[in-house]
Subunit: 328 residues, 2 copies
DNA sequence: CTGAAAGCGCTTACAG
DNA sequence: CTGAAAGCGCTTACAG
């Protein structure tokens, strides 16, 4: 199967291989009759050009890389799905890299580059300076997904996490709540730092004391921590940097007899599938992750067209708040 | 960056490019001093061989394809993560294909083959005869993941879904339960059919009437359906083909005032992250999906070694039941 | 509009 | 143990 070469097609069609190649890559340069004949034979034989040869000869691969920090978060999978669908539409194939070992970030990146992809969609939890440095000289376009670029070297697509956290905090303040706590990851991810910043800003503006709770992210430990916390504190509203943490907190509270949403309101951040499977259903900030993936791919396509001298831009995608049963 | 070619390394090291290539591919054939010198320079310059050229010349790509039906299910992401980690260990890179359009299954498969991967990990919800036919003549090894192969042409790694469903059903029967309902997907996936079969077998053996509930899979619709069902039925135990359906059912029941686990016990199938975020926490069959991904990659590696004439085999992975709070 | 030819960056028999 | 050379399957100026 598929040992069919371009030579075979050329032979059957009675043309040179250059012509077959042109039919595939620059169809407008081939006479209609010839083109249709070649296309028919390609279809008949089920010919697909060898990706390696094509990539080597053209210095393009119609392959893009997605680099993600992990696959275990629902939000990331959903994003990849968005990218995949969009990539298919543009005729690109996707190579997946999981950059879960920050020690070896450099090694991973080299591999990404050596894999001769035409462009890279980069999702990174922690954009440190060393990361910026690492990717600065990448020979193909890079787009940050679900994170906004701080400088103008790279394009990005994401929501404005700071504004968003500010906004949702402010709305809860305006509803008369005062004891609003923010649960974030103990480890400081760039994205979550932005959320914290927005939250703190809203609290301070209202003359309220911000209160952060750092969660380690493992469900069992979180639960112990949350239970201890609730024994001595009684917040009115809990915002969490991730849905899973919000649900975890909510479950602990409910088990302790605290009524949600009457005595405690909980809001998550992301609107993953978890949110609808919780009881009560979780109110969240809806990050349109699928859409972000889609737009990132679109933007990357623009940059990969060599004829256009496209400038990398930052696209801020709209979020919305989905009000469900964990808030009044 | 990384425009460094093998020529550059050869030049700096004062050897021919054949030698550099050998250092990379057959180090034992190169004298130690030479080898170490070349390796040092490779490292210094951060050289990575161009994947396309390498693939074209060697007819190997050290890339494998993962073909999945979707990315939106937690179990699938977790499996991919397992595969990715394992692939990295073996020096393979991963190309991701989402085969979400069964109409175009043939087209997708051709693309997979044309992408010149060395092997394919195939995850498929519905192994129809036409699918078997489609992949029969694939020029590289194919392993089924999370699904057992029916014939001996392909290797596979997965759990024995039928036995597993039989087992968990029987355990619940032995505990004295009689009204045990099985919720499965309305659409008949091969995997879920096996589960149904095991469930039905256990029920019939005990002289009990099997009762199936077909769920469409969209949360909102499920809830309506489950609520209507519970208005006229009162099962003692509900088994569900997926965690999400189990949780959805449980949430509806709890809202209707039915006590879980006292009046109703619920068991899911997979043990995704959802299971620990539900309230009460869901008892489930634990499918070691990460481990399955790992073993599948290992098996594929065996088959990709051309020197060994490895026979494809079916590996049955152990499951276990994780008892949590949704059962007595 | 089409063909002959060079070349993409590697690997690997083949000699030595 | 090492080098010169052919070749992997394509693409794309260059002529015509």
């Amino acid at each position: 199967m598929n040992q069919i070469k371009i030579y075979d097609i050329a032979g059957s069609a009675g043309v040179s291989l250059a012509t077959v190649s042109r039919v595939l890559n620059h169809p407008e340069k081939v006479k209609k009759v010839t083109r249709e004949k070649v296309l028919r034979i390609i279809k008949e034989k089920g010919y697909k050009p060898n990706a390696n040869a094509r990539g080597l000869a053209s210095r393009k691969s119609t392959t893009i890389a997605i680099v993600v920090p992990t696959l275990t978060r629902a939000s990331i999978s959903e994003m990849i799905q968005g990218i995949e669908n969009s990539a298919k539409k543009f005729g690109y194939t996707v190579r997946l890299f999981v950059n879960d070992d920050l020690e070896n970030e450099q090694e991973t990146w080299r591999e990404v580059v050596a894999s001769s992809v035409d462009g890279i969609l980069f999702m990174c939890d922690e954009m440190s300076d060393s990361t910026y440095e690492l990717i600065a000289y990448t020979p193909v376009p890079v787009i940050f997904v679900n994170a906004l670029s701080k400088n103008q070297t790279f394009g990005s697509v994401g929501i404005d996490n700071e504004k968003c956290a500010y906004d949702v905090t402010k709305q809860m303040i305006d509803k008369g709540n005062k004891k609003i706590v923010f649960i974030t990851t103990a480890h400081t991810y760039t994205v979550n730092e932005a959320k914290v910043k927005g939250y703190e800003k809203a609290m301070k503006q209202a003359g309220l004391e911000p209160e952060l709770l750092g969660s380690v992210g493992v469900i069992e430990n979180n639960e112990t921590q949350f239970e201890e916390y609730l024994q001595t504190h009684r917040p009115e509203v809990v915002l969490a940097a991730r849905d899973s943490m919000a649900i975890s907190f909510m479950n602990v509270a409910v088990k302790m007899g605290i009524k949600v949403p009457d005595e405690l309101q909980v809001i998550g951040f992301q609107n993953t599938r978890y949110a609808q499977l919780s009881n009560p259903k979780l109110t969240c900030v809806d990050v349109p992750i699928y859409e972000i993936g889609n737009q990132a791919m679109e933007k990357l396509t623009e940059l990969m067209k060599e004829d256009v001298e496209a400038k990398p831009t930052n696209t801020v995608v709209d979020y919305q708040i989905i009000w469900r049963d964990s808030t009044k």
